[in-house]
């Protein structure tokens, strides 16, 4: 890393500088918790349930305990001796650290074997046996609404989200949250509409599969605990572990180096509570590193069913929309209720519709838990509403782009919640998409067995609110700068862009800025690195903290009678008589928010919107149903990019990931709730040979005025419109409409046969 020798002449924001940690990553020296080994450390291997729903009658660990090299075997009962109420979760305190009276999905952790040799620990898990009284299970989200199979005997909202309060103590239900929005008079508007369209769409359960599987290490002293964890939410981990233990927050330290991928999998509590308790029980460091396979039994993405109905007037304007969305949350709520509500309110899409009804349901089922996955529910919604939009356009005989243009939500207009749209470049995105797709030109659909088609889709997302980021920026005696923030770099380039923001304010090269990684003993509170919020929230906090540091330095200059351009080392030398001292700038950023009323309406739902458009040209092999994407266009409103190259790679990366979810990824269960494809041999993710022939990425010229230097988030944007753009293109090519994901060759072929 180069040292700052002079003030930066050029702007730091807007530079496509290589990532600060480049050398570490290309030489294999980047730090991941995956690598961590501590002296005396024990490895934990998890024994898991093999029934989808059952009361635990007996767990026999005697044979496991007797295996040579096994240090200890721990079950839920042992956990309760340390934590009497061992339930965690960001929305509901429904998830036990180890199963207690019941197991609720195949793969649920029931016991842990500890040994200094992980192979011994693993071998011992095969010696544990458990007996269950099996209970009826439910797997489908719509069925779960009315099923007699009840996953949780009583609901336990965490109290962290006020809109879940009314569910406290509710019994005999799988409904963890029902979000409701009503605007205008939809029933009346439907009756008056010229045409009414209704469709139903489904998406499947998939998994993030970060290549560094989830891993956490805990080590304790007499009265403190340090958790080294691959987590996107270190501050949350600290708060939640402190709450579970009944400790003051300052006794829990959470450290996060780089993540080998996150995508939303590494959030809230995953392994942290378990390793913490195990370390407290054994008084030794404890590491639990999941295998790739075990990740599938830990956290996944919601499958969904979306019924969408629209009323259109004679002029082609959408006047009413009704959305009913069932989210398959799996056995534990995790952040599902947030997905249901926060994404739920965007279910009508980026369209200007006066009369809206939304009902969005979070359901418990006996499947592995679902939580946050890049897009946070938005891809599932856009899949439905942009497929629906295209179908309406076709029925009405209107060009799909023109139909969208006519109905698009514009600057200054209210979204379904009533919040007025600002700095959401919906029109620009749609226009650029049309231009990059050469939409006005006729498209050759081919004649032989290979047919071609094209399709577009536009989606949007409201950034999660309300959330808080704090940051500190230190200026050292030699003028070098350090950023302290709990944003986690999981590959999205946050270290680099935060350094660029600091460099811009303090006029030093970004490469000279040191970014200290999340360590809750050092870096201040941050809500979490998720939902594309960090550029906006932490970026603003870092900018303000740098400005605070600059202010303090300028104050020193004045105090010491030095000129406005005096060098920083000179200031400290004068102040302290030698090279000593430093200045710390601090700031917090928590944009205003108004919670929704009983009708789901609010005038301030979000501090910023993300808008993403996708265009696809593809070929369909009509003899086999195989689809080949020949051209993929990603257009996004990301405000003004801080690092254009990183922005481009985020658009491209998100789209390719979503391509896997669109064309072939799916967690396949048998009728006993057993997952049949929990490994990369049987759960295939996109590789080099799956890429579209051509990928075009463009951030439209835009500005998020309330963002740091006009910037906002980009990590998820290219996931929004991918799936429906592909479905729309397939429809264009071969005249069939697929309403379920994934659109694998057999699904395409079968649909063509039944045409």
């Amino acid at each position: 890393m180069k040292r700052a020798t002079q003030a930066a002449e050029t702007p730091q924001v807007g530079r496509s500088i290589p990532r600060l940690e480049s050398w570490l990553k290309v030489t294999g020296r980047a730090e991941y918790v995956h690598n961590l080994r501590l002296p005396g450390m024990l490895y934990g291997k998890i024994f898991r349930s093999n029934v989808a729903h059952g009361r635990i009658k007996n767990i026999d660990v005697s044979a496991a305990r007797a295996l040579a090299g096994v240090y200890r075997v721990v079950t839920g009962k042992d956990i309760q001796e340390v934590i009497p109420e061992p339930f965690y979760g960001p929305a509901f305190h429904d998830q036990p650290i180890l199963a207690l009276d019941k197991v609720r999905y195949v793969g649920e952790p029931v016991a842990v074997v500890l040994a200094s040799d992980p192979h011994v620990a693993e071998a011992a898990t095969h010696l544990i046996s458990a007996e269950y009284e099996e209970l009826p299970a439910v797997y489908d989200e719509v069925e779960a609404m009315t099923s007699k199979a009840i996953v949780h005997d009583v609901l336990k909202p965490a109290g962290t989200f006020p809109d879940l309060k009314h569910l406290q103590g509710k019994k005999n239900t799988n409904l963890a949250l029902d979000f409701r929005l009503r605007r205008g008079n939809p029933d009346k508007a439907f009756k008056a509409a010229a045409r009414v369209f209704e469709h139903r769409f489904r998406t499947q359960q998939v998994m993030h599969t970060p290549l560094e599987p989830l891993v956490s290490v805990a080590e304790c002293t007499e009265d403190t605990l340090t958790i080294h964890t691959a987590s996107q939410s270190p501050s949350f981990v600290r708060i939640e572990i402190a709450r579970l233990l009944g400790w003051a927050e300052n006794r829990v330290r959470v450290r996060v180096p780089f993540l080998g991928g996150g995508f939303g999998a590494k959030l809230y509590i995953k392994l942290e509570a378990l390793v913490s308790v195990l370390s407290l029980i054994t008084r030794k460091p404890v590491k639990i590193a999941l295998t790739m396979e075990e990740q599938f039994f830990t956290i996944t993405k919601h499958a969904s069913t979306f019924r969408i109905k629209s009323g259109v007037d004679a002029g082609g304007r959408i006047v009413a929309r009704e959305c009913e969305v069932w989210w398959n949350g799996g056995a534990y709520a995790d952040i599902g209720p947030r997905v249901t509500q926060k994404s739920g309110f965007t279910a009508p899409g980026p369209y200007d519709i006066e009369h809206v009804a939304i009902d969005s349901y979070a359901l418990y089922t006996n499947l592995p838990p679902a939580g946050a996955l890049r897009g946070f529910g938005i891809p599932q919604l856009v899949w439905a509403y942009e497929s629906h939009t295209d179908l309406m356009a076709r029925e009405l005989g209107v060009d799909p782009v023109a139909f969208r243009r006519q109905n698009l939500l514009k600057e200054g207009r209210p979204q379904a919640t009533g919040t007025v749209m600002h700095d959401a470049a919906t029109e620009k995105v749609l226009d650029r998409l049309g231009a990059l797709m050469d939409w006005k030109k006729p498209f050759d659909q081919g004649k032989g067995t290979v047919r071609r088609g094209r399709g577009i889709a536009v989606g949007f997302k409201a950034c999660i609110s309300n959330t808080t980021s704090l940051a500190a920026v230190g200026v050292n005696a030699d003028g070098s700068c350090t950023v302290y923030c709990s944003t986690v770099d999981m590959g999205q380039g946050s270290d680099t862009t935060m350094a660029q923001i600091v460099g811009e304010v303090l006029r030093v090269p970004a490469e000279s800025v040191r970014v200290v990684h999340s360590d809750t003993d050092v870096t201040p509170f941050d809500m979490a690195t998720l939902g594309s919020r960090s550029m906006f929230h932490m970026g603003n906090a870092v900018k303000l903290a740098a400005e605070d540091a600059l202010q303090k330095i300028n104050h020193l200059r004045k105090e010491l009678g030095l000129g406005p351009d005096s060098a920083v080392p000179e200031i400290f030398r004068k102040k302290y008589g030698m090279r000593a001292g430093s200045v710390m700038g601090t700031a917090s950023f928590n944009p205003p928010y108004t919670p929704p009323d009983a009708n789901g309406l609010t005038d301030n739902a979000t501090p910023f919107w993300m808008v993403g458009g996708t265009g696809v040209e593809l070929e369909v092999d009509t003899e086999t149903g195989r689809v080949r994407i020949t051209r993929l266009v990603n257009v996004a409103d990301v405000g003004t990019p801080v690092n254009p190259k990183i922005v481009e790679s985020q658009l491209s990366g998100a789209a390719i990931m979503q391509l896997g979810f669109t064309l072939f990824e799916k967690m396949l269960f048998d009728d006993q709730g057993q997952l049949r494809n929990a490994s990369l041999a049987e759960y295939k993710i996109p590789g080099f040979l799956d890429l579209p022939d051509e990928i075009v990425n463009e951030a439209v010229a835009a500005e998020q005025k309330s963002g740091p230097f006009g910037a906002k988030g980009v990590g998820e944007t290219a996931t929004f419109g991918l799936s429906p753009a592909v479905a729309n293109a397939i429809h264009d090519a071969v005249g069939i409409r697929l309403t379920e994901l994934p659109m694998n060759p057999e699904a395409v072929f079968t649909k063509m046969q039944s045409r």
Binding site: T624, R676, N677, P686, P745, E746
Partner: protein, 233 residues
Amino acid sequence: MSGGTALMLMMKAGVLRPSRLVFLGRLSLEKIESGPDGALRIGAMTTLRALERSDAVRMGWPVIAKALRTLANVRVRNVATVGGALAHAEPHMDLPPLLAALGARVLIEGKNGKRQLPVEDLYAGYLENTLKPGEIITQVEVPALGKRRAAYLKCTTRSADDWPAVGVAVALDSHESRIFISAAVDRPTRISSAQDLENIRIDGDLHGSADYKRQLLRVFLKRAMDEARNAGR
């Protein structure tokens, strides 16, 4: 144990728990030779990568070099051996149906001496070969391509880098067509016409339903025949 890739996977999955592994690397079975009869003789311990890069193979049996290009990945091909690939009896693999179509034979050695076997006779079922205890494959002999035209096609239904749902290998000349299908069946299976496809037993799995795999076989049989007919020397 030869390359060990398949073995390691089975041991890690707990499917195989051997108490002893004997590495076959010191038997000097890595040679690739063309004989005076134009046949290719491949030592069983030849790596797939060596086979892929062999000039003799590229020139004399381009269909083999082409098939190897998409067989597993480079790291696997760097250590996996021809003998191991054939003995594994995994029905989705590329070499068994292709070598069977080309009329290849394996040389087997064991306690009771040596014997030769057409490749297709090596297979009894899923992961079941017909080797007797104490026997190993020492060599694979592939007759010269001659006037024959050959092709091997496979079809994956998930990501491109995946076990195929179906494989079809054909070798045609004026006298004979040798057509072998794979992946959708539990061992490389010879068929004589498209009609045969309608009667073979296929099981559905993660790659596709039985009906769909049958459709893929129909399509890829036709495409493999076309590709073979158009194949230059």
